[in-house]
Symmetry: none
Subunit: 251 residues, 2 copies
């Protein structure tokens, strides 16, 4: 079950932090590490700090984009500072652990996404996550070491997992449904954006926060596969109508 | 109140771990560090890993024995592997956080005691502690990095402290948005249905379960007022386009 939970580190500067994160993961029973454009990897510093978690490092997947890192995931939770201009569904680490374990138990693939040492995740990256998680910290000294942040979220995953071991499995639920994967969601957002341009609701030159707001809405809704087909069908029909309209205008 | 809680590191080998522990402490709002016979301190590695928590390092008290480190304390909690021949009152990290904060609030001085990187605390040292705390971990790879262990216990102290403040949880805050009311939702469903008929996605004579499925999707999404305005705006634009289209067909 814990193998359904991957840890994604985006654009990490210091290989020592990758090693520290790998050790924290293995300590907590997590094994799947994905590195998005690490600045230096593999590296001696990473192995040194991994301190025996070499299997996590050698099994790490190195990819070029967050999108690739999230393929197959139906839940992505990104670490974030509390105050963002864009409000987003926020979890604390305990809620993050509970939600990850609950969904992993249902067979979903989960990603916990960590940003750069100094700059964190970009707004664009954060908008690809369904939830944001903030580790409560001293407001005057709030930036945790990357491996320490992995340790805290991994610890809460383990606590939730241990609690779930004592509880009847929820995978037996009769209403287990198939959710749209993250890449299906991305194709939907792409289709949605094009359609909104076609009907002239979205001005590509002044997009404002429209797509971000729509991502936030659909991202938190656990859209099912069957619902996704309906939404895509609506967009396709809307585009047909819009294409007819623009044809008419040219006449 | 958090100033009543000190972190005691016994006989630490690697100064980098002292720095990492100082950073974790400051992140969690803890400031009092006591070092029992550190093998190397002060040290450049400690300052580098402290990454701005220099005040915690420079304020650290260096002493010769655990006994000295615990002067004035009425509660000492020592980190321990789970299986000790010596049975002792055990806490998990969450209970450790709760107990530390409860007693610190009463004005007691508390010590959280961490052992050597490889060997932990000796039985003699453990017997000087009122409670032992064990961080749940992978039985096959159970030894956490020292700074990571300080991070986990510090995090649980902060969570307990925030709860004691009565601070609203992060997710409560995020929930403090205005949701669309039930009648606004009904007007939306009505508008959606008409629009789907307009674009010929919904056949009023064979509606099947389409509207029920869409109600289920949006109904569970806690749609906010601002999001509702966007959705309604999209429908209005779609209808304009569709009206142009049907006009064209009549021509």
């Amino acid at each position: 079950m814990l193998q359904n939970i991957r840890v994604v580190l985006v654009n990490t500067s210091h290989p020592g932090n990758i090693g520290g994160a790998a050790r924290a993961m293995k300590n907590m029973g997590l094994s799947r590490l994905v590195l998005v454009q690490p600045q230096e990897f593999p590296a001696a510093d990473a192995s040194a700090r991994a301190s025996g978690a070499d299997d996590v490092l050698s099994g790490a997947l190195v990819v070029d984009s967050l999108e690739e890192a999230l393929v197959g995931c139906s839940l992505a939770i990104g670490t974030s500072a509390r105050d963002r201009s864009l409000p987003w569904p926020m979890l604390d680490p305990r809620e993050c652990g509970a939600k990850s374990v609950e969904r992993a138990t249902m067979g979903d693939e989960i990603a916990l996404v960590f940003g750069r040492e100094h700059a964190g995740l970009t707004n664009d990256e954060l908008q690809r996550c369904h939830f944001h998680v903030h580790i409560p910290s001293n407001p005057d000294f709030s930036s945790l070491n990357l491996a320490a942040a992995v340790q805290v979220l991994g610890y809460e995953v383990r606590m939730a997992w241990l609690a779930a071991q004592g509880a009847p499995s929820i995978s037996d639920k009769a209403d287990a449904v198939e959710l749209a994967t993250l890449d299906e969601m991305e194709r939907f957002y792409d289709h949605l954006e094009k359609t909104l341009v076609d009907i002239a609701f979205l001005d590509p030159d002044k997009p404002k926060h429209l797509m971000a707001r729509l991502r936030r809405l659909y991202g938190r809704s656990s859209v099912e596969r069957t619902e996704m087909s309906i939404l895509r069908g609506i967009l396709t029909e809307t585009q047909k109508v819009a294409r007819g309209e623009s044809h008419k205008r040219k006449d």
